[in-house]
Amino acid sequence: MDIELSAEDLGFRDEVVSFFAENAHKDGEDYNQWRMDWFAKAKDKGGWDVPKWPTQFGGPGWSPTQHYIWEQETAIHATPWDMPFGLGMLAPIVMNYGNEAQQKRFLPDIRARKVNWCQGYSEPGAGSDLASLRTKAVLSEDGTYYTVTGTKIWTTMAHIADWIFCLTRTDDSGRKQEGITFLLFPMNQDGIEVTPIITLGGAHSVNTVHITDVKVPVENRIGEEGKGWTYAKGLLQHERTGLAGVSRSLVALESLKDQARTIARGNSTLMDEPAFKAKVADLEVDLMALEFTELRSLASASAGAAPGPESSIMKLKGTEIQQRIQKLTVEAGGLYSAAWGATSVGPSFARAGMGGYLASRGYTIYGGASEVQKDVIAKNVLGLKKSTSVQTSKENGRNSS
């Protein structure tokens, strides 16, 4: 056992840090231009614009440790805004299950950040139980296109997306995991209507997408008809990686402490108050442990082994920790955490604190509710039979694997 980074890894860290420093956004610089330049320069570094892509598609081929270092440094430094849907979710599916023409058609634009994608997955009646989705796709008699009709919900960034990757039902005669087909189509066309959903923090990022008689050429189908669930399951695993957000939490915890130190209490600060301090410490202990849980998973992945049981707890623990940090930020803001709207009153962090806390309540819902996640661990990791009070049919959970 050795917890020191190797000389190569330390060298890599230096290289990453100096890349970030050299290409930091300067005051007054046009943001979008900077963003495009940043990705271009990252590409020239040898695939740093697509860190998770395999080398045959232009990725850097980093070791797990290098990925970990990258995650840590991106949490500390300001890097350009990016969307995960095309880059991290669709691209792996296209690489694994798409044909060569599709790879040539879709991957370059994703890599160049030219096309924004959204994920057409959940439906009003299909949330945790995703396989019960009903958006219908009917193949034309000549077999050249599908006609798609249905409603998708919780579609993040649908209002700015150019394309959607969508799970549709082409057959409802068998098991519900069968008969699902994976289609890609543009958002800007007749028959697609995007309605915003305003969430508790007052933000608009998710939407309802109504799809009515939208024609999708068969060339836009990934893989075989009816096999979409298999592809989607692979994609869900991608969605889950990164949701733990350990690096971001480490940074957020430090800023929480800094914020609490700005709240004067007599001759000391809120950070010295026993009750508050104990909660921060309790949080820090859990986060320290989770950081090493992540490293253990990385190490076994690095040795080529299947992910160990420890990797299954990452999303659960990670999102819980993110929520606790947000909650303590609200506590630190005191009465000022209640202030809302444009007027700034009290400590500068208080306004964002409440918004962040409210948004964080979704972390244990989106991407698979924690309760479902625990069912999966009980079954797959602990090998337990389904609980006796309810019989859920096998493999129908969003997070079943």
Binding site: S128, L270, F276, G334, A338, A339, I365, S387, V390
Partner: protein
Amino acid sequence: MNFDYTDEQKLLKDSVQRFVADHYALENRIKLASNAPGFSADHWKTFAELGWLTLTFDEAEGGFGGDQVDTMIVMEEFGKGLVVEPFLASIVLGGGAVRRGASKALREAVLPGVMDGSIQLALGYAEEQARFDLDDVVTSAREDGDHYVLNGTKSMVLNAETADFIVVSARTSGGQVDTDGITLFLLDSTSDGVERTNFPTVDGLRASEVKLTNVRVPKEGVLGEVDKGYDILNAVAIDGILAIAAEAIGAMEILYKDTVEYTQQREQFDHPLSEFQVLQHRMVEMFMEYEQCKSLLYRATMETAQGSPGAERTVHALKHLIGKAGAFIGENAVQLHGGMGMTEELRIGHYFKRLLVIDLQFGNSDHHLQKFAA
């Protein structure tokens, strides 16, 4: 031992319940909250007509002569509808300070208007450096002939935007955190030197920063004795805590009941969510927390109304539990509603946000646990 309401109290509860049922559909509440002045003048008039605005004032002065139990009845029902009218700010807080501290002449000048709804009040007790401590007061009041001259900023003042008079705490002597040396003043909100910065709060209500620059208040505007305002302020804060705790109970009831109902309707994995044991237990816990809060609310309210020794410690216990249980119930109501729980479209998010703010008002859960343990 008797936990029953009197016939009069039952009538009061029924009439508030009916008002909430008739006027507080979520869309109405959102509409009221998002347009100035943040509540309905018509509703306020109705409150006056129904006599609710007289609730806490002495019978001899035209009031209903009610105590904290009566306020509790009203506030619990208000909590079920997330009522935005400034009953708490004007009647419980501002009115509570005036009726306790104002001279007979001042009471006669102000209270009839408060009770008929034509005058509104507010209480400015918080200051930024004070966090949750009522006795940490930097705002100063300097004697100048037959006036006091006030300087400082009172923070997060509920209803200051529409209040005609604002009760503020200011330091007339002593050090920053001495309980002695605090004096309460009733100031006309249109006085020279009063500058209000108004803003919404996350729960759909409104508050203000009230900056006082050489504001002259005549000596008749002193509530209670000079330097001895803390006891009145503390008594008003206790009434405030009891009132918002009752409101919280109303909100908690909606949250747990809506969750029980929703999980019976929503099906996933071919079953209603309510059949999943893990969710059943969670809802049982929400219910248990609600009942425990209600018990402490009754205990603290009755002890306070009856002047029992130790009542204040029970109030600390109550405010601690309300904050803790409020977060638990609110967070789990959202969690069990899934994605829908995260939207502004369902009412549960709105109740959750009110509970979050209730925890922050008059000291959060930690603050009161420390006071309780002290």
